[in-house]
Subunit: 317 residues, 2 copies
Amino acid sequence: MRVHLVFEVEEDLSKSFEKSLPDCDVSYGELPAEDTEILVAGRPTANMEAGMPNLKAVVIPFAGLIPVTREALLKRPGLDVYNLHHNASATAEKAIELMMSAAKRTVVNDRSMRQGVWAPRFDTSEALQLAGKTALVLGYGEIGRRVAAVCVALGMDVTSVRRSTGNRRDGEIQVRDQSMFPVLATTADVLLVCAPLTDETKGIVSREVLKSMPRGGIVVNIGRGPIIDEEALFDCLKNGHLHGAGLDVWWKYPTGEEPSQPSDFPFQDLDNVVMSPHNGGTVQGTEPVRMAALSDVICRIAVSDTELRPVDVLRGY
Amino acid sequence: MRVHLVFEVEEDLSKSFEKSLPDCDVSYGELPAEDTEILVAGRPTANMEAGMPNLKAVVIPFAGLIPVTREALLKRPGLDVYNLHHNASATAEKAIELMMSAAKRTVVNDRSMRQGVWAPRFDTSEALQLAGKTALVLGYGEIGRRVAAVCVALGMDVTSVRRSTGNRRDGEIQVRDQSMFPVLATTADVLLVCAPLTDETKGIVSREVLKSMPRGGIVVNIGRGPIIDEEALFDCLKNGHLHGAGLDVWWKYPTGEEPSQPSDFPFQDLDNVVMSPHNGGTVQGTEPVRMAALSDVICRIAVSDTELRPVDVLRGY
């Protein structure tokens, strides 16, 4: 089976990758081979024009389907599309990192201490205790599940919502249908967005939802920027309705090497936001893990493993 | 029973506090009443000179016994001494906050993003994944237990050590005798110090222990500064043996209002340390919780509750 990766891989990794796929013929590079059957590409749009009449499957080597990819794939029905979820643990850890640092003002404390100023030591107004608080996890997939489990261990009261799940209980976690989201947000001290960007989640964390949250809450986003109303989040942070926010995903991304702000609103001027450069999945040792996950998916495509769930391109995840 | 608090309490709180102690006569202020039977004081040293011939018990309204307090109390045998552990959850959360932010470079990421610089986005060398790593929790009391549970939920392999416990298992957590600490440190990716400062813990995280940890590890301290060898920790951070450290407790504390550095070594010049002003227990709503815990301890002293464990003044906790 012909597998083409549109990116280069370090020699050590490519060797072990190819060794793990003895029945595949693996090639690399920007231009996919004409006889490609499995294409591995982060943004396959451009590559789709290359023809590839035998193309059977596309593997996107991370989680999520950006809109332009979805458009391109919808024009070519019959293809199976897969995501990799190898960095779910790392991304869940990013959500916990951002929740903790927004709750405790990590950045402000650190900046103060570097100047020898201990003032935050006795100021009880600036740090939120999480034990006893209510966490609402939007999205209950590979990432949301891990985030919810840590929130339980922190002594929080945890509810998660996901699309069309029916109401159920998973250990100590209440799992609710996404239609309940606006109601559940009204009692959420901490809202953790761990959902993919789809037509249904775009803007779901609206101005109304943010304003309905209890005063002094926290919003964390490791899903995708446009799930949250950008201006409303900025307003709720600036006017103090929210205690804080921790954001790893944004509304605007750099198009070149020049510094560029991640929003039309000056989040960088707010002390109650913790800003992170969409690097939740970027951890030490991630490349070997990614290549192992990729090998696993390709093997399973090759043997038509029915338990391997393709992405629903229409829904977007 | 005459109870004296050597600090003032807000009127709302003092009212409900007194109401909760109908059989006690409560007074406040720097100078304890001569007929005090239960003294509540953070640093009772000076107050001990006031005589108080009927003094039966001292309550220190936080966890731990500083050396000068210990000296003073040892001179007055027969007194029962109690700590409050009302902020164990908040302090455990501080440990998790510092572990996550040291592992992920929260402060560095935030600083970069505020300048629109996304460079850390694809740099896998800077962030540590915690899932799959080994955590060693030094101290397994009210705080250590909570920290260990969160580490388990994060997918870490968790061992804790405490004094004279015998080896046992608590759920997914291995609990080992403190004598095993130097051996266990040699495989600890993350060392979380959650122990009180005693003769036995002072300097227990020595240069040898730090050097024996696997390269690229993390040290968190929410116990007390002198448990860790100050210079050795600085060296291991500066030379990159450790990936990072998160410190809420220090070797030097301010004596006045002037800015003052928390160590003789310039931790403030290191990017791989997260600095916090000993405010783990300082969270919103902590005062009512502290007063409720204080009321509870006083009630139990008054009825000679045998399950209320006094501090072992000789041991220091």
